[in-house]
Symmetry: C2
Amino acid sequence: MSNQKLENYYSGFKKISLQFITAEEFKRIEKTSVYLKFKKGEIILKQGHPPTHVAFLQSGIVKFNFSSEATGKNTILTLVSAPKILGGANLFYKDNNLFSMVAVEDCEVFLIESNVLFELLKSNGRFAVALFQLASEMFKSSILNFISVANKQKEGRIADVFLYLSQDVYFHNSFNLSLTRKELAEFACCSVENIIMTLSKWQQEGIISISGKKMEIIDMNKLKQISKIG
Amino acid sequence: MSNQKLENYYSGFKKISLQFITAEEFKRIEKTSVYLKFKKGEIILKQGHPPTHVAFLQSGIVKFNFSSEATGKNTILTLVSAPKILGGANLFYKDNNLFSMVAVEDCEVFLIESNVLFELLKSNGRFAVALFQLASEMFKSSILNFISVANKQKEGRIADVFLYLSQDVYFHNSFNLSLTRKELAEFACCSVENIIMTLSKWQQEGIISISGKKMEIIDMNKLKQISKIG
DNA sequence: AAGATAACATTGAAAATTTAATGTTTTTTA
DNA sequence: TAAAAAACATTAAATTTTCAATGTTATCTT
């Protein structure tokens, strides 16, 4: 994606909304909303919390993190970059948040009261359909990750994570990874050792190059091949 | 159509729709829709197919089946019983179907043209919100299954499958299971051997009782305990 | 009703994955 | 900036899970 396109793509919630609702209607949202910054590691919407708010991610990257009380383990369902509407299952659903949404890079967020937004959605079908389609992309990426985890062994899964990161999060073959090895493991559903060993191996084989947080996919075809054979 | 069937038909999608749209608007849907029966094993919406249709499941049980070309393996993302609106990621999304929806029991289905339905949703926000909320339940159950698979070992996962079957599919502690052991394995993401051994073990321990297809959960607390410890 | 096919069941060996132990490097913080 | 904490890295042992082989039972088909 070119810089120009990227810039268009990164338009805020207001711009998107005003394609569907009036300035006056948007004011109704604005009145009960806040514009917040979250630092890396901070929780934007918390697992188990009532779905009182929907968040529009204006900039930054967010992980969908499920934390298991019983085992103490985390699972990253998916990772998304701005602009996105964040609401968990709860953009649609009325139960308490299934998982947390946590900033993995500094984020700018427009925090909206759910009931105010929902009233507007009910009165404006085009707006509702547009927002739901935006939101459904995140479901899709979670489901794709599920399919990867269910069908493939660690190398295929880690390959899928890297392909997803380059194609859908950083939009480039090289990127400064904002996840730790532990988080990569939580994303690919394997142990940290699996991540470290696989990355070392791939670096030796010239598939990727790593220096600190900077990662580059050198042989994209080989990575796709690994993803394919699982 | 017999009187009985006619009644099912009216208690299904039409009844729900008429809470939100006019009889005239529903006629627009009806004109381009068909009422179909699917036998056990038949595909209602096929993986990879363009999302030309949305299906309303009037009666029966459906599995969401992802089939991997590379490995030839199947994964059951979730299982749902009527009444439900079926559209995969595609009720929201415009890509080709991510997975198939397959009848695991005889089903009655109202097959609707997507573009006709979507036009109505755009013109009626209350209808849109209601349908999306209905549809999101299936996403939720897929995500819950993902979390189970990602966090737990086989016994915890199989326990989760049984809890889900009794609570959300058959609505009873005893049920005639319409899945084979192979399908149970595809649902809990483990091998058939794991299913067979675990079920035998649980039967010996008095947690469940099995005779043919008839299953009964005897010690629900123990099953929940197994689910919890993973 | 007989034969064929699919489903169910059991077992030991093989493979994949995690755990544990240990050390190095990088980052955070007092 | 020095100490502490976290992240990164490697290896062997233990565990979990799948694969392969085999037989029985149930279901479908002609």
